[in-house]
């Protein structure tokens, strides 16, 4: 009898743990989907860098995406014409037609000198690279939020730990804090805009702050989402990068 009871308790605990884990995965998935559409195949990104609170530079790029693959094509300014980047899993390739050079990059490298890393530009879903360790309810500027604590799945990613603040009702992202492997908070993202029409994302805007250097930040606007483009698998190859560089 005692053995049956013990086995029953263990099974109940396993069941609760599984359900809880599934709920956590579901929460992270909802947070990802509320912030950025998961079924989009194409979008454009506009970035403005500020240093010492003064405007420094801008970039406009277009991105094709499929599963965990991203193909980035430089559009403006002319300095990045012929610039293409490809992310496949943990590897990022960069091709520059002007100097005809193909290179491999780390996800931690800054994107064109901005406060964003390569991973920040070429990853739209935290669930692919980070595990949700725990979450709690809290308050942020008087608003009820879920505070999600995420840790890196591998050491190839740009950040060791991320703390994400999402609205309890809508699961929309409000803020994220990014931490390195040494425990320092290095970046902070504040979401300015998530605009939807008929349930589809139309624009996402946020500001990415370098917390180690006050006055250094990048404003990002993502729009021109296309839900009906599914880029073929062969788009996400090194050979295709050279063909698509303008």
């Amino acid at each position: 009898m005692r053995k049956i009871l013990t086995a029953g308790v263990v099974l109940l605990m396993l069941l609760i743990q599984t359900v809880w884990a599934n709920y956590e995965d579901e929460l992270l998935k909802k947070a990802d989907e509320a912030f950025f559409p998961v079924d989009v195949g194409y979008f454009k990104v506009f970035m403005e860098d500020y240093e010492d609170n003064k405007y420094r530079r801008y970039y406009r790029v277009e991105i094709f995406t499929r599963d965990d693959k991203y193909l980035l094509v430089g559009l403006e300014p002319n300095l990045i014409r012929g610039f293409v980047q490809l992310r496949v899993g943990d590897i990022i390739y960069s091709y520059i037609r002007r100097i005809d050079r193909m290179e491999q990059l780390s996800a931690k490298v800054a994107f064109q000198g901005s406060t964003l890393s390569q991973e920040d530009i070429m990853n739209t879903s935290l669930a692919k690279l980070y595990n949700l360790q725990s979450y709690e309810e809290g308050l942020l500027d008087g608003k009820k939020v879920y505070i999600l604590h995420l840790t890196a799945r591998t050491k190839e990613v740009a950040y060791h730990r991320i703390v994400s603040y999402i609205d309890v009702e809508s699961h929309e992202l409000i803020k994220r804090d990014y931490f390195t492997f040494s425990g320092d908070k290095v970046r902070e993202m504040i979401v300015n805009e998530i605009r939807k029409e008929n349930g589809e994302h139309k624009a996402v805007g946020f500001t990415f702050y370098d917390t180690l250097r006050p006055g250094y930040y990048t404003k990002v606007k993502i729009d021109d989402f296309s839900y009906h483009i599914e880029a073929p698998e062969t788009y996400f190859t090194r050979s295709y990068m050279k063909a698509v560089a303008k």
Binding site: P77, L79, R81, V244
Partner: protein
């Protein structure tokens, strides 16, 4: 003649290709230009040029790209190259500034995931930063503050079989006057989760085979790679002393050249180290007699190709994208050639150091200060073969 050909190309492109392309294609005109003011101090090698020239140089260069691409990825690219010596007077040279066609080619998608390229085009291949041994079509050379690469006439077929496999076949004509001098190349590219591999073969002048592979593996922030090429036979000019000193060909069977490299990339800095071993290169005895020879009147006119003389080279580079301010960046490179099998190591070693500090004036304009220094032992390669010992240059570049 070069300027007239380039202008003719430009006229044809502007009046024929651009109007027909703009009806359906996205056209872009962009480019870069730069001016460099330099000072060179003479090296041990005194040539006809260094005897008569001043040590000051003022160079102008630029590239203008005309690109038209439609949504089917039909692409036409014309790249005009501008080079000039601003210090030359009209009395000394007919064309102090020359315009040439750097690249001009068509990219045509054939059927699903296959592309045809036709024209004068650079071919990017290989992993190595310093010693691009596997690229026989458009090898890259580090020359002062820029990397130069040739663009031969070629016909290229690329097939993207899958995300893991693609292959290409190339017919290329570098300075070819006869069909028997045509060259053929074939490449197969493999991609895995953290690794890439290329296997290739060439048939130069339809008679000389070469083959090799390159392999790269990424582990966290480290990249490890190897790039090799094997030739059936290699010719190397060495000095023969049969009563009279003269250069003659030494033929070697199955020479192999291999580059081993590693690269560490962090958030805003990068470190690269490569080692090149060329079996067909000079040993210490051949190096000594060659260096003594080029110091004579007969030897001064011998041509020199970067990193194509000796057996062993080591290249190291360190670059940082942001120094205190994100507008400052710097890169330093050092290439060393040496003979490990001699007791007088210091006499045969030489090195070439290049350092560039760049300031971003605006997003599209850069100001750089460049230093190059060559030094070495009594029979060192760089300090004896280069026409200058030190080069200082102030460079302004503009991208538009």
């Amino acid at each position: 003649m070069k300027k007239h050909s380039a202008l003719l190309f430009f006229f044809i492109f502007l009046t024929v290709i651009v109007p027909s392309a703009t009806t359906v294609a996205e056209t872009n005109i962009y480019g870069e230009t730069g001016v460099a003011l330099g000072y060179m101090s003479n090296s041990n090698l005194i040539t006809v040029e260094t005897e008569k020239e001043t040590n000051l140089t003022a160079d102008l260069w630029g590239t203008l790209y005309f690109s038209a691409m439609d949504h089917h990825l039909n692409h036409c690219l014309l790249a005009l190259n501008l080079e000039g010596n601003l210090a030359a007077s009209l009395a000394e040279e007919d064309d102090p500034v020359s315009i040439g066609v750097d690249q001009f080619y068509l990219q045509i998608p054939l059927f699903q995931d296959a592309f045809l390229y036709c024209g004068k085009k650079q071919k990017e291949k290989g992993i190595s930063r310093f010693f691009n041994v596997s690229n026989r079509i458009s090898p890259k050379y580090l020359v002062n503050y820029e990397v130069t690469r040739t663009a031969p006439g070629l016909v290229e077929l690329d097939f993207i079989h899958s995300p893991a496999l693609s292959h290409s076949y190339i017919l290329y004509f570098p300075e070819t006057n006869r069909w028997e001098e045509t060259n053929i190349a074939a490449f197969m590219d493999f991609s895995g989760q953290r690794w890439t591999a290329d296997v290739f073969c060439y048939l130069e002048k339809l008679s000389a085979p070469l083959a090799g592979f390159s392999l790269s593996y990424q582990h966290k922030a480290w990249q490890y790679y190897v790039e090799t090429i094997w030739k059936r036979k290699a010719d190397q000019y060495i000095l023969r002393q049969n009563g009279v000193e003269e250069l003659g060909l030494r033929k070697m069977d199955d020479p192999l050249a291999a580059v081993f490299g590693l690269k560490l990339t962090q958030e805003n800095w990068c470190f690269t180290m490569e080692f090149l071993h060329r079996r067909e290169g000079y040993n210490s005895e051949e190096q000594r007699t060659f260096i003594d020879y080029i110091k004579t009147d007969a030897g001064r006119e011998v041509g020199f190709v970067n990193h194509d003389l000796l057996r062993n080279y080591l290249g190291i580079s360190f670059s940082i994208d942001s120094i205190l301010d994100s507008r400052f960046s710097a890169e330093t490179k050092a290439i060393c050639s040496f003979q490990p099998d001699t007791f007088c190591f210091h006499q045969y070693v030489s090195w070439q150091m290049l350092t560039q500090i760049t300031y971003e004036i605006t997003q599209n304009s850069l100001l750089s200060f460049f230093i190059e220094h060559a030094a070495g032992g009594k029979y060192g390669e760089f300090n004896n073969v280069y026409p200058f010992g030190q080069l200082f240059a102030l460079i302004v570049q503009y991208y538009f």
